[in-house]
């Protein structure tokens, strides 16, 4: 597409010697708007061969699009939905997704590219100026509208009949309340439900992984175990709601390493049970570092020291993780000695 193909005499510089140099035309005000620059021809405007080439490119693009759509249909029919292929450098991908996506993408892109190439090379590129008109109305129109409005208001007598006006506004103001009322049954009132979990005196601590009740000897120093209250099964309807509050994180520390007095009291042979739910916004916090005894939340990086009453040592959480008081029953299994003494999870207005 170089200009070498164009007959010399067709080139604009040959036709028009007038505007060759850049000069300041307006001596009086050199900053004044000189007006739209004269239109310059594209290669396609003056060379029919170039225009033909453009036409062929556009038609080719549209044809490729048609072929790609055929390819899409063929892929849809021919490729099994579970076939995997290796595409360098992407890796093992679904053959169907890859083929459908690329054919659809090509089909769409070529239509667009064809249309744009057509517009850019073959449609007129003469710049046109459109006049703007002020958005605001003229003073006459403005006066007319104001007058019309006053007339209408007067005819309705809304200004004079105060009783109608007041009651109408009253009625309109009240009627949406019905809609608000209807929202009441979106959910129950909170009550004290956020304060209680399934944990209660005598409930065994059941290992999340093996579904077996835990004994103290199962929990080694440096290990991490997750527990749920006995009787809570995944297939239960309220499993999600209950585990969201009852999930427990169990670790064992050397009793000498426990700095917080209450934590030691509520532990059993150095085994401590903390809520797994972060007190910030409720992520299951469980990134336990066994050497530092810190536990980190993966969502917002609140860090708690499990050897010191799970107090917050970094991040946006506002208070320590609640601890569950545990002991051992007659058969030697770990059991809860009551519910959590404070609400688990994120803080809320009524928490206190």
């Amino acid at each position: 597409m170089s200009s070498q193909d164009i007959p010399e005499e067709n080139l604009p510089a040959e036709q028009d010697h007038a505007h060759a140099a850049v000069t300041v035309a307006d001596e009086k005000n050199p900053f004044a708007d000189p007006g739209l620059p004269p239109h310059e021809h594209r290669i396609q405007d003056i060379d029919e061969r170039a225009a033909k080439r453009s036409e062929r490119v556009v038609a080719l693009l549209f044809t490729v699009s048609m072929l790609a759509t055929v390819g899409f249909i063929v892929s849809y029919v021919a490729i099994p939905h579970d076939k995997s292929i290796f595409v360098f450098p992407i890796g093992h991908v679904s053959a169907l997704n890859f083929a459908l996506g690329l054919t659809l993408g090509t089909a769409l892109f070529c239509i667009g590219a064809g249309a744009v190439h057509w517009a850019r090379t073959l449609m007129s590129d003469v710049e046109v100026a459109d006049e703007r008109h002020a958005i605001a109305a003229s003073p006459e129109v403005r006066a007319q509208v104001h007058a019309d409005f006053k007339q209408g208001a007067k005819e309705s007598a809304i200004g004079r009949r105060g009783l109608i006006r007041t009651t109408m506004f009253g009625a309109l103001a009240l009627v949406p309340l019905s809609g608000v009322m209807l929202l009441r049954d979106l959910g129950p009132l909170p009550g004290t439900s956020l304060r209680h979990t399934l944990w209660a005196k005598g409930k065994l601590l059941v290992n999340m992984n093996t579904n077996q009740p835990l004994r103290p000897e199962d929990v080694a120093v440096g290990s991490l175990t997750f527990a749920k209250p006995e009787g809570l099964e995944e297939a239960q309807e309220d499993f999600q709601n209950e585990i969201a509050k009852a999930a427990l994180m169990i670790i064992r520390l050397q009793p000498d390493n426990i700095k917080d007095k209450r934590e030691l009291e509520w532990s059993h042979q150095g085994i401590v049970a903390f809520s797994k739910i972060c007190t910030h916004v409720g992520c299951p916090i469980s990134l336990y570092e066994q050497q530092t005894h810190h536990v980190l939340c993966p969502c917002h990086q609140s860090t708690f020291d499990l050897s010191d009453g799970a107090r917050v040592i970094f991040g946006p959480a506002g208070h320590a993780l609640p601890q569950l008081r545990i002991g051992v029953n007659d058969e030697g299994y770990l059991q809860a000695l009551g519910d959590f003494e404070e609400p688990v999870g994120p803080a809320f207005w009524e928490r206190g």
Partner: protein
């Protein structure tokens, strides 16, 4: 100059640019994606504790003490078991460099498997601990992949990410990427809890549980794992997806917009 600018305005230029950009992403990804590690060479010679002790005195005693009792530079090895030695030495974490960052990282292993077995036998002789797992224990036969997935999400994903790509811990520590890690080492890590990783002894995560976890990890994070939708973008979730959408998605569309709005080349004599 003229030719280049004519080509730049070519209708297919944007397509070429886009394809190049996509290919470049893929290439970059392939270049930076961790390669799978060669399987450790396994030899099965019988070894004596004595030979292990010799190796220990040279490579380990300066930090862990001449009898494995530990010192200010390294913990006691009494009772850590052969599994811990096999994990630490075979992944190159031990012997550690003298000046280490927040945690000891994986590096090239300088011992043969035979030497590691000797070392392990010596350390195991200091006090009973977990043994090196056998292939039966960490192999894929008879594993329940889906159960492994559930266990992985409960016990592992919080630190190692949902497909085992690793993640941040406090103060510069991190949970490493599990891509390409020998299943044996995964098993040993769960068993022994290296460094700040908590341990998951059989009482917490049963032998079968561990097998399931390893099988799941192999299903979702191996060189054979299918990523049906295409490039995985590191498997890191919305952050890399967002970056990709900005740089390559919006970037490509702006490139196209520049082409759509640009003036067509004028026929002008230069």
């Amino acid at each position: 100059m003229k030719k280049l600018s004519a080509r730049r305005r070519h209708p297919l230029a944007a397509v070429v640019v886009l394809l190049l950009a996509l290919a470049a992403t893929g290439g970059l990804y392939a270049a930076f994606a961790p390669a799978s590690k060669a399987q450790a060479d396994e030899t099965s010679q019988s070894l004596t504790i004595k030979e292990g002790k010799k190796l220990y005195q040279v490579g380990c005693a300066s930090c862990h003490g001449t009898g494995g009792q530990g010192s200010s530079d390294g913990p006691s090895l009494v009772g850590v078991g052969a599994a811990a030695v096999d994990f630490q030495v075979a992944t190159g974490r031990m012997p550690a460099a003298t000046s280490q960052g927040p945690q000891v990282v994986k590096k090239k292993n300088i011992y043969t498997q035979a030497q590691i077995d000797q070392l392990a036998a010596y350390v195991a002789s200091l006090g009973a601990g977990p043994e090196v797992p056998t292939k039966d224990q960490y192999g894929p036969e008879g594993a329940d992949i889906a159960k492994g997935g559930e266990l992985f999400r409960t016990n592992c994903a919080q630190c190692h990410n949902f497909t085992g790509k690793g993640g941040a811990l406090t103060k510069g520590k991190f949970a490493p990427d599990l891509t390409g890690v020998d299943p044996k080492h995964i098993y040993e890590a769960m068993q022994t809890g290296p460094q700040n990783m908590p341990s998951f002894p059989d009482t917490t995560l049963s032998e079968k549980n561990k097998k399931d976890v390893i099988a799941y990890l192999n299903a979702i994070n191996s060189s054979e794992t299918e990523q049906p939708g295409g490039m995985e973008l590191g498997g890191l979730g919305p952050v890399t997806e967002g970056l990709f959408a900005w740089v390559f998605g919006l970037g490509a569309l702006i490139a196209v917009a520049v082409w759509v709005a640009a003036r067509t080349a004028k026929a002008k004599k230069s």
